[in-house]
């Protein structure tokens, strides 16, 4: 009984303290920006089933809020000094901002399907745009297909596109991953933010494996929340990882990224394949991804 009272109290107080400061209906969804004390968040969908897409601390905008955003920087342990970065799925523009601060000389291109999200990122999340940091409003798959035709290459590709439910189905297929691979520079890395569970976790892993071979899962105890690092040729040794982490440690500290701890969350699938060998891979012909994620 007490448990429920506390739960009710916390829900009530949480609701009372969070304040919607901006609401926008785009072609794809409702976008809500709300604030709870110091924390400002970009949310999709309705009030009953909100999912935070991006958050920032107003008084400390450098500090990253989400764990997955921090885990994404594990990429820097397997690739050095990215010069051409591609981000699919903008959110509040947090990743782009941090990468730009870390590597001001790097070219960063953000692809976002929803122009309203881009507008909100500019107006409420200090999304930085310069000659080096650009963005386009387009479907990620089309952008990559066109980039491949123009023979463009990127050495850090971040897949972070989500709709209300999960990753759009056409961005989770073998054909799409092959297109991504064709724009990946030598020595580059693909970082994909995923939070699939049960069945989809297995299909997703098998599909990545079919295109990229062995990859790295970066996740804490809860395996469903993970960053997939794919496209790397060899897995660095633990000693190499530690050395890279040491070099990055001080640079990443101000973003609240503990890169030493993150280097211990990395699992190479060659040694720890955690899905059945005969799992069906997702293709353009067969991709019921969102139906599997329950």
């Amino acid at each position: 009984m007490l448990k429920y009272l506390l739960l009710a109290a916390s829900v009530f107080s949480g609701a009372a303290m969070s304040e919607v400061i901006h609401e926008e209906r785009s072609l794809y969804r409702n976008i809500i920006v709300d604030e709870t004390r110091d924390l400002r968040c970009l949310k999709f969908n309705t009030k009953s089933s909100q999912t935070s897409q991006s958050c920032m601390y107003k008084n400390d905008p450098d500090k990253l809020v989400f764990n997955y955003t921090k885990l994404t920087f594990a990429s820097l342990l397997v690739t050095e000094n990215p010069k051409n970065v591609l981000v699919i799925g903008l959110g509040g523009g947090t990743l782009s901002n941090v990468i730009h601060e870390l590597y001001p000389g790097a070219k960063i291109h953000n692809v976002e399907i929803d122009s309203a999200v881009l507008k909100v990122a500019r107006d409420y999340f200090n999304f930085i745009e310069t000659d080096n940091v650009t963005s386009s409003v387009q479907d990620g798959r089309i952008f990559i297909k066109r980039a491949a035709i123009k023979k463009q290459k990127y050495d850090w590709i971040i897949l972070d596109a989500f709709n209300g439910d999960y990753i759009p189905e056409h961005l989770l297929t073998k054909e799409f991953f092959e297109e991504v691979q064709s724009v990946l520079a030598d020595g580059g890395v693909i970082a994909a933010n995923t939070f699939s569970s049960s069945k989809l976790y297995e299909h997703e892993s098998a599909t990545y494996h079919s295109v990229f071979g062995d990859f790295i899962n970066v996740s804490r105890a809860n395996r469903s929340n993970r960053i997939i690092l794919a496209g790397i040729k060899t897995m660095p040794t633990q000693a190499q990882l530690n050395e890279r982490a040491k070099a990055l440690e001080s640079k990443l500290k101000k973003y609240d990224i503990d890169i030493n701890a993150i280097s211990n969350y990395m699992q190479y699938t060659k040694n720890s394949q955690d899905w059945p060998k005969n799992t069906k891979i997702l293709t353009d012909q067969y991709s019921p991804a969102n139906l599997l994620n329950f």
Binding site: I113, Q138, D139, R141, Y286, L292
Partner: protein, 187 residues
């Protein structure tokens, strides 16, 4: 409707999942259905028979097949020649769905012609036909989107639709030749 729903799936790899994809697909289906109704009505005035009715089904089934065979090269071609994914998707859905949907659209008015025996009841017959075809559309939509996509490849589902249409066509022609030329009596 089942095919329309899968249309989104077929176009997504080349034209994305922006809203204009559905705009293209729905436009093309509505446009071709409207022409189909017109053509089907016209055809029904000339010696309507169950055999011809069956032939419409057969032709429809044959016209659906290219979607499974040539969708890739057609979309590849359009993708490389048209930058704007709005017009790209409109052209692609026209190329893939326009002709089969016209033929499918011919079925309804032709059915009215074959089933109406008494002008007093023509409204009722049309009502029943609308009921059956729209209910069928609803079922096709939900079964395809909820269950078929979980179990089968897109091409397998479309081939199954084609096979069903083809069998119905053969059945209609078969029934007609068994029953003699009874239907022609009304013509």
């Amino acid at each position: 409707m089942g095919i329309e729903l899968l249309g989104g799936r077929i176009l997504a790899p080349y034209f994305g999942s922006s809203v204009h994809i559905w705009g293209s697909i729905i436009t093309v289906f509505m446009l071709s259905l409207s022409f189909g109704y017109l053509l089907g009505g016209k055809l029904s005035t000339k010696n309507a028979s169950l055999t011809k009715y069956g032939l419409i089904f057969l032709v429809a089934s044959i016209m659906v097949v290219p979607i499974t065979l040539f969708a890739e090269p057609i979309m590849e071609f359009i993708f490389t020649h048209i930058e704007d994914s709005r017009y790209g998707s409109l052209l692609a859905s026209t190329a893939l769905f326009f002709i089969p949907t016209i033929i499918l659209g011919m079925i309804s008015p032709y059915s009215v012609r074959l089933l109406v025996t008494d002008s007093e009841k023509s409204g009722q017959v049309a009502g029943i036909l609308y009921f059956v075809s729209t209910l069928g559309s609803a079922l096709g939509t939900i079964i395809t989107s909820f269950y078929f996509v979980l179990a089968f490849d897109v091409n397998t589902i479309i081939s199954a639709f084609a096979l069903t249409l083809g069998s119905l066509g053969v059945l209609a022609i078969g029934v007609n030749s068994f029953a003699g030329n009874k239907e022609l009596a009304h013509a």
